[in-house]
C-alpha cells in the first residue's frame, strides 16, 4: 500500500463499471533487479485504461505479469473476481485475457490467416471463430487483402494490425495492447488508435501500454503514469492530458 500513498491522485472520480482487473501491490524482479516495485491498479469493465511512462518504467513487465509470462515476487492479479496470479500462461488466455505483445511478434512464416487461427488456439467453437475472423477482417480490411500472404512479408503497420487482430481472435474479455504505435508512421498510428476505440465500443475492455502518451491519453478513459517501476500519477485521461507535470515529462509540452 505504500506505493499508493505516494501516488498523487488527479482528477474526478472514476466510472462505476464493475472491476474487471485488479492488481494489488505487484512486485516483479528480474534476478535481483526490481522492474516493478509495488504497483496497484484497476481496470473497469468497458474502459480503455492506459499505462504510460518512459522506457524501462515497467509497463511491459506489468503486462507480461498479468498474462502469466512472468511470476511476481509479491502481490496479486485478480481477474473477474478470480485470483490468476499463479495461473499458467494458457490458463490466463482461457480465462479471457489476450495479449498483443510489444514488437508485434506475429508468426512470420505463417500466413495472415494461420496467424489469426493461432489467436483462436484454445477455442473449439468453429462458428464463433469464423464469426470473429470476419469481425477482425472488417476492423482491419488490409488484412483481408493479404489473407494468404506470409505474415513475415507484411509491412510493420500491417504486422501491428495482425498482432491486434490475432489477440482479438481469442475473444478476450480484456485485451492487453503493448506499444501498438511503436515504429509506425503517424497515419498508421491514427488508424490503429481509431480501431482500438472501435474495439472498446464493441464491448472489449482494454489495457493499453504506450510510450506515445499523447495518443494514448487521447483515447483512454483512465490513465496510470509509471516511473521506474512505481506509480507516479493516476487519474482520468482527460485530466492527465492537461496536467502540467505530465505534459512536461511525457508530452513534450
Amino acid at each position: 500500500m505504500s506505493a499508493q500513498s505516494s501516488t498523487s491522485q488527479t482528477g474526478e472520480a472514476r466510472g462505476t463499471g464493475e472491476i474487471l482487473l485488479k492488481i494489488d501491490d505487484l512486485q516483479v524482479y528480474y534476478g535481483a533487479i526490481a522492474a516493478v516495485k509495488g504497483i496497484s491498479l484497476e481496470v473497469r469493465q468497458g474502459e480503455i485504461v492506459t499505462l504510460i511512462g518512459s522506457n524501462g518504467a515497467g509497463k511491459s513487465t506489468t503486462l507480461r505479469t498479468i498474462s502469466g509470462l512472468i511470476k511476481p515476487r509479491q502481490g496479486s492479479v485478480t481477474f473477474a473476481g478470480k485470483n490468476v496470479t499463479t495461473m499458467s500462461g494458457h490458463g490466463i488466455v482461457e480465462a479471457g485475457i489476450c495479449h498483443s505483445p510489444e514488437g508485434r511478434r506475429i508468426f512470420p512464416r505463417m500466413t495472415v490467416d494461420e496467424n489469426l487461427d493461432m489467436g483462436a488456439f484454445l477455442r473449439n467453437d468453429k462458428d464463433g471463430i469464423a464469426e470473429d475472423r470476419e469481425h477482425v477482417l472488417e476492423l482491419f480490411p488490409r488484412l483481408r487483402e493479404r489473407i494468404a500472404q506470409k505474415a513475415g512479408t507484411l509491412s510493420g503497420g500491417e504486422q501491428q494490425m495482425l498482432a491486434v487482430a490475432r489477440a482479438m481472435m481469442g475473444r478476450p474479455k480484456l485485451l492487453l495492447l503493448d506499444e501498438p504505435s511503436m515504429g509506425l508512421a503517424p497515419v498508421l498510428v491514427d488508424l490503429i488508435f481509431d480501431t482500438i476505440q472501435t474495439i472498446r465500443d464493441q464491448g472489449t475492455t482494454i489495457l493499453l501500454v504506450e510510450q506515445n502518451a499523447l495518443a494514448a491519453l487521447g483515447i483512454a478513459d483512465y490513465a496510470y503514469v509509471l516511473e521506474s517501476g512505481a506509480l507516479k500519477l493516476q487519474g482520468s485521461a482527460r485530466r492527465l492530458a492537461e496536467d502540467d507535470e505530465v505534459t512536461r515529462a511525457y508530452l513534450g509540452g
Binding site: S67, G89, F107, P108, M110, F121, I147, S155
Partner: protein, 431 residues
C-alpha cells in the same frame, strides 16, 4: 477523412488456393515415391535375377537391395528427428539414443537373448512366444519372442517415454544448452548399453550383452500377405526375402510420412509451428509450452523406436558400437540438407546422404580410381564431403534442397517497406 474501409480487390493467392496447392504437391510426391518403390521392388524381386549379367552387377554395385533398404531406414530416423528439429524447432544432437533403445527393445522381445539376461542362468529356461518367429534352428526358441508387428509399437512407446524423460528437464533450456544436454543423452544411452553386461546387485543382470551385442533377431512375418503366391511367410536373411524386407521398410517409412503430414495439419502441428516461430508469442496464444514440446520429443522418439526395431531386423542384431555420435550428426545433416520441416525434403535429404554413405561414395571412388589410375580411398573422406555439403548449403541454399513452402515465400518476398505501406494508406484515403 473517410476511413479506409472499402476493401480493394483481393490480390495474391487465396487461402483455399494455398491449401489446395499443398495437397496437390503432397499427392505428387507420394505418387512419385510410390512408383520408385514399386519399380525398385520389381527390379530386385523378378527383373534382376531374370536378366542377370551386367545390369544385375551394376545394381549390385551402385544400388543393391540392402543399400536401398538401409536408405529407407535412414529416412525413418530422419523423419523422426524432423519432428523435433524441423517441426518444433528444438535442436536434438542425441537422436541416436532412440535408435539404440528401439534396437534393444527388439533384442529383448524378439531374440533368444532374454534367456541370458540373468548371469546366474536363472532365466536360462525362459521361453515365451506370442505370435513370434524365432529362426528355425535348434535352441533359438529360448527367450521372449513377440511378433515383429507387435514389437514396433512397443518400442515406439518405450522410446516415446524416454523422449519425455529426456525432454522434461531440458525444456527450460534454450538453443546451445539444449544442444549440449541432448548431446550428452545421445552419448550416455549407448554407453549404458555398451557397459550393460553386469548391472544390478552382484552384476547379475545383463541388459545388453555389452560389446558382444545381441544376435540373431527374429524374422518378420508377412501374414496375411503370405497367402499370395510367391510371398515368403517369414522374412529373414535369405536372398529371396530381401526385396520383401525392403518393401516392409518402405511401408514403415510411409507410415511415418503419413503420421508427420497428418500431425502437421492438426492442432498439435500448428502449436509446434507456433513455438518454432516465436515461443513467447505462442504462449500468449495459449499454447501450453511444456506439453507441446514434450509431445514433439515423444512423437519424434516414437519414430526412432520403430526405426530401431526395423534396423535390428535389417542387420540381424544389435551392436552397441554402432550407435555412435556421428549418427546423430548425419541425421541432423539429412534434415538440414533436405529442408527442415518439409517431409519430402527430409526424405530426399536422407536418401541422398544415406546413399553416399552406403554405396554411392565407394562406387564413385572405384570408378574414379579405375578411370584415372589413382588409388584414393574415398570412404575416408566421407565426413569431409558431408561437411563440405553443409557449408555449401549454408552459403548458397540455407533453406535446404526442398524447403517448406512457407520458408520459401518469406525468403523470396522482401518485407514491404514502411513507406510503401504509408503510400498504400494515403491512396486508400483518397479513394
Amino acid at each position: 477523412m473517410a476511413a479506409t474501409t472499402t476493401p480493394s480487390p483481393v490480390t495474391g493467392p487465396s487461402v483455399k488456393d494455398a491449401a489446395e496447392h499443398a495437397r496437390r504437391s503432397n499427392r505428387k510426391w507420394a505418387l512419385g515415391l510410390l512408383i520408385a518403390v514399386v519399380v525398385l521392388f520389381l527390379l530386385y524381386w523378378k527383373i534382376l535375377p531374370a536378366v542377370g549379367g551386367d545390369t544385375a552387377s551394376f545394381f549390385r554395385k551402385w544400388l543393391s537391395v540392402s543399400a536401398a533398404s538401409e536408405m529407407v531406414l535412414w529416412v525413418i530416423f530422419a523423419l523422426g528427428l524432423n519432428i523435433v528439429v524441423g517441426y518444433a524447432g528444438l535442436l536434438d544432437l542425441g537422436y541416436v539414443a532412440f535408435w539404440a533403445i528401439g534396437g534393444y527393445v527388439a533384442g529383448w522381445f524378439m531374440s533368444p537373448f532374454a534367456s541370458e539376461m540373468m548371469n546366474d542362468k536363472s532365466w536360462a529356461n525362459l521361453k515365451f512366444n506370442f505370435l513370434g518367429h524365432p529362426p528355425a534352428i535348434q535352441g533359438l526358441d529360448r527367450g521372449i519372442h513377440l511378433n515383429f508387428w507387435l514389437v514396433l509399437p512397443i518400442a515406439g512407446l518405450i522410446c516415446a517415454f524416454f523422449g519425455v524423460l529426456i525432454g522434461a528437464p531440458t525444456l527450460r533450456l534454450k538453443s546451445d544448452y539444449l544442444a549440449l544436454v541432448t548431446l550428452g543423452f545421445g552419448e550416455i544411452i549407448p554407453q549404458i548399453f555398451r557397459n550393460g553386461e553386469r548391472l544390478g546387485p552382484g552384476g547379475n543382470f545383463n541388459l545388453s550383452n555389452g560389446d558382444k551385442g545381441i544376435t540373431p533377431v527374429d524374422t518378420i512375418p508377412t501374414w496375411p500377405f503370405s497367402y499370395i503366391p510367391g510371398v515368403p511367410d517369414q522374412l529373414g536373411l535369405r536372398a529371396e526375402d530381401l526385396p520383401f524386407k525392403f518393401l516392409v521398410y518402405c511401408l514403415l517409412a510411409a507410415a511415418i510420412v503419413f503420421l508427420s503430414l497428418r500431425i502437421r495439419e492438426g492442432r498439435l502441428g500448428r502449436a509446434w509451428l507456433a513455438i518454432r516461430e516465436d515461443e513467447l508469442a505462442a504462449s500468449m496464444m495459449g499454447v501450453p509450452l511444456m506439453r507441446t514440446k514434450l509431445a514433439a520429443y515423444a512423437v519424434g522418439a516414437f519414430a526412432g523406436g520403430i526405426g530401431g526395431v526395423a534396423f535390428a531386423t535389417f542387420v540381424n542384431g544389435i551392436y552397441a558400437s554402432r550407435f555412435d555420435f556421428a549418427i546423430s550428426i548425419i541425421l541432423l545433416a539429412m534434415v538440414v540438407l533436405g529442408g527442415m520441416g518439409n517431409v519430402w525434403g527430409v526424405t530426399v535429404g536422407a536418401l541422398v546422404l544415406a546413399w553416399i554413405n552406403s554405396t554411392g561414395l565407394e562406387q564413385f571412388g572405384n570408378t574414379f580410381n579405375d578411370a584415372v589410375g589413382t588409388n584414393i580411398n574415398f570412404k575416408n573422406y566421407q565426413f569431409l564431403l558431408f561437411g563440405l555439403i553443409l557449408v555449401l548449403m549454408m552459403l548458397f541454399r540455407r533453406e535446404g534442397l526442398i524447403p517448406e513452402t512457407r520458408t520459401k515465400q518469406v525468403l523470396a518476398e522482401p518485407e514491404r517497406g514502411e513507406l510503401e505501406a504509408v503510400g498504400a494508406d494515403l491512396e486508400g484515403e483518397q479513394a
